[in-house]
């Protein structure tokens, strides 16, 4: 398993990502609406059930009273009472409706014109609509084999009360939803702004700018995140500044006296007496350049390593075109050295990177191969989508004792032509690969050296993974 940063092009400011606060607000509103709808349904159903029970109780009580009257005083009294009660309206606003009939059809008394669809033999009850269009709750019963009685109550007032309750409940629920939405939206907007401030600060810092540090005055989780982010951004900025400051000053303080020394050697060469050998002075100048080159390489390695995972300064680079140019540049050197330089470069291989650094990475590997491969040998460069860069040769390869440290600073092998080097080329190649979210490895090959560079994820489970 390879662990390492993967690089993508930086997101533009205000990029369109889905807001978690918007999603949470939407979900909260949906839940509120569902809960209110359920509560509304249960309340209406329960109220209607209570109304029905009340109507049934009223009707049953009335029937019981009338049955007593029939039992004690006979049919005549019952019919007289029905005529009296037909004009009464109860305190609850329900009008009483009655019908007394013979089972074979003749109507005896009451204020209902026709018998509804209720069976007196079964003592059926329920909501029915009378012939005159009035909606009632009624019960039919058989008081005697020759006498059927229907008792009913209108329930218009009950229905109106229920509708009023439904309207009030609905208005209240709508109010709750609107208030919840307004408060939620305000809270989501505030939270989104605070998190965006943190993201923006990181993005500006990544691009090398000076960010407005996020507000950490709030005593909550995002306030804590803002505080930690501020510390992290400030620390990173200080580290980057210190690193750069140190690198620049080291370079300045070493190069300046070397420049003076070089100037003195140039003066000495100019005033050298005729016949004198300038070789020592010229070697001195070469040595000065060697020290400068080594210093620059060390600082470049440190700089690349310090910027691993930092996408600032990376732009889309055409790796294929870059590799083609390098093959063109090195073709002559290879031919001169009697080495065959082959290339297999897939067109259109692109990656976010620093073109100069990537040029240096491939150039270092080609330099390395040309230095170690003897006349008659082969060097090949392959670039494929992934991106995958491979440089291999059929030279003597890396000595077994050096394989473990080949990418370490100052590791030097025995070159074919006795070329001198500081042993920093592969260390710099490794640092540049890391800077671009890739890993470089020396993989096993039957002959020569075989270097492979590809993104960390592509190394998973492979030989050479770090």
């Amino acid at each position: 398993m390879v662990a390492g940063p993967s690089l993508t092009l930086p997101l533009p400011p205000g990029s369109h990502r889905r807001s978690i606060f918007g999603v949470l607000l939407g979900r909260a509103l949906l839940f509120t609406l569902a809960a209110l709808a359920l509560l509304f349904g249960v309340t209406v159903w329960e109220s209607w059930q209570a109304t029905e029970r009340s109507l049934a109780a009223t009707v049953d009580t009335d029937i019981a009273g009338l049955a007593d009257i029939y039992a004690i005083n006979g049919e005549g009294e019952l019919l007289a009472r029905l005529a009296d009660r037909s004009t009464m309206i109860g305190l609850e606003g329900r009008q009483a409706r009655y019908l007394a009939m013979r089972p074979d059809g003749p109507r005896l008394a009451g204020n209902i014109a026709a018998w509804p669809d209720l069976a007196p033999a079964l003592s059926e009850q329920g909501f029915v609509t009378l012939d005159d269009g009035t909606a009632v709750y009624a019960r039919a019963t058989r008081l005697a084999p020759g006498l059927n009685l229907l008792v009913a109550r209108t329930y218009e007032r009950d229905w109106q009360a229920l509708v009023r309750m439904m309207v009030l409940f609905g208005a209240g629920a709508l109010g709750v939803v609107l208030v919840t939405f307004a408060m939620g939206r305000r809270a989501a907007s505030t939270l989104r702004r605070r998190v965006k401030d943190i993201s923006r600060a990181f993005r500006v810092a990544e691009d090398g700018g000076r960010p407005d540090l996020p507000d950490s005055a709030y005593d909550d989780e995002i306030g804590e995140l803002a505080e930690l982010s501020t510390r992290s951004i400030t620390r990173s900025a200080n580290l980057a500044h210190t690193h750069r400051h140190m690198s620049d000053h080291i370079a300045h303080e070493i190069r300046t006296p070397l420049t003076h020394l070089d100037g003195r050697l140039v003066s000495a060469l100019r005033t050298l007496p005729p016949g004198s050998d300038p070789a020592v002075l010229e070697q001195g100048r070469k040595d000065i350049r060697g020290v400068v080159t080594m210093l620059d390489s060390l600082l470049d390695i440190a700089s690349s390593e310090a910027r691993v995972g930092d996408p600032a300064g990376l732009i889309e680079v055409d790796l294929s075109a870059l590799a083609d140019d390098l093959v063109d540049l090195y073709a002559g050197s290879a031919e001169e050295a009697g080495i065959t330089l082959r290339s297999v470069i897939e067109p259109g291989v692109r990656l976010p990177g620093e073109a100069m650094q990537l040029t240096r990475l491939i150039s270092n590997l080609l330099d390395n191969a040309l230095k170690y491969v003897p006349r008659g040998g082969q060097v090949s460069l392959a670039v494929a989508h992934g991106p995958v860069i491979e440089v291999r040769d059929d030279g003597p390869g890396v000595e077994p004792a050096l394989r473990g440290t080949v990418f370490a600073r100052f590791t030097k092998g025995q070159t074919a032509g006795g070329h001198s080097s500081h042993g920093l080329g592969l260390a710099l190649a490794r640092a540049i690969a890391l800077r671009h979210g890739m890993h470089i490895a020396l993989v096993k090959s039957r002959q020569g050296a075989h270097f492979v560079i590809k993104p960390h994820a592509m190394w998973e489970g492979e030989e050479g993974a770090a």
Partner: protein, 225 residues
């Protein structure tokens, strides 16, 4: 030629002033960035040589201020910060050329000449002629004493660069930067080898050399006579 040199180190300033004085160039030296800025605004100069790490100002800031105040003289940054990334920063900030210390005296003068020539707007026509050589820019063909020389595309770019800088020293760094677009030295002989191949083609069938090697700094196109 009159140059302004902004440099805080007296020894470096004395070396450079002496070097350019031997070639007949007048150098005005300023030790502080602010003084250099004022001088550049008051007097005309053919070019400005600028150190990068000055005690009162960053050289990149000075370039910005020079450009903002309308000073158009080309700027060569001469700095102890010589890594590829430093050069890219300098060129991005608007300097016209960047040379790291320690430098080859010949390379400095070659670059100054190229800078001044570029700033004077001396453009080349479709055909550049120098001595026995002809460069047909549009047709991308090369001739020596009216004899066609077959060159690869990159060799033609090199030949054209030498023709555009005919008579002046062209350094390895200039070739890497302007022909191969590289801001670092690959540390191998790639430039020398490519020049060698061009030289062989330019000299094939002729008795006189086409390119001179200037030790330690670069090459110069001869007239071929």
């Amino acid at each position: 030629m009159k140059l302004l040199y902004i440099e805080d180190n007296a020894e470096a300033a004395a070396d450079l002033t002496a070097l350019l004085a031997r070639q007949g160039t007048q150098v005005v030296w300023e030790m502080r960035g602010a003084d250099g800025l004022r001088r550049a605004a008051l007097e005309p100069f053919d070019a400005i040589i600028l150190d990068r790490m000055l005690p009162d100002m960053d050289g990149l800031e000075i370039v910005q201020k020079l450009r903002d105040s309308g000073v158009g003289a080309p700027v060569l940054m001469l700095s102890a910060l010589g890594r590829a990334s430093n050069r890219v920063e300098g060129l991005d900030a608007g300097v016209d050329d960047y040379l790291a210390k320690p430098y080859e005296p010949d390379e400095l003068t070659a670059r100054l000449k190229a800078l001044v020539r570029r700033a004077e707007g001396r453009t080349h026509s479709a055909i550049i002629i120098y001595g026995q050589f002809e460069c047909h820019v549009k047709a991308r063909t090369a001739f020596r004493r009216n004899q066609h020389i077959a060159l690869s595309p990159k060799e033609f770019e090199l030949f054209r660069y030498f023709m555009e800088n005919a008579g002046d020293t062209v350094t390895r760094d200039m070739l890497l930067r302007d022909v191969w677009k590289m801001n670092f030295d690959p540390q191998t002989n790639v430039v020398d080898v490519n020049i060698g191949r061009l030289r062989r083609k330019l000299e094939s069938g002729f008795a006189t050399p086409a390119l001179e090697t200037i030790w330690g700094s670069g090459y110069r196109l001869t007239r071929g006579d």
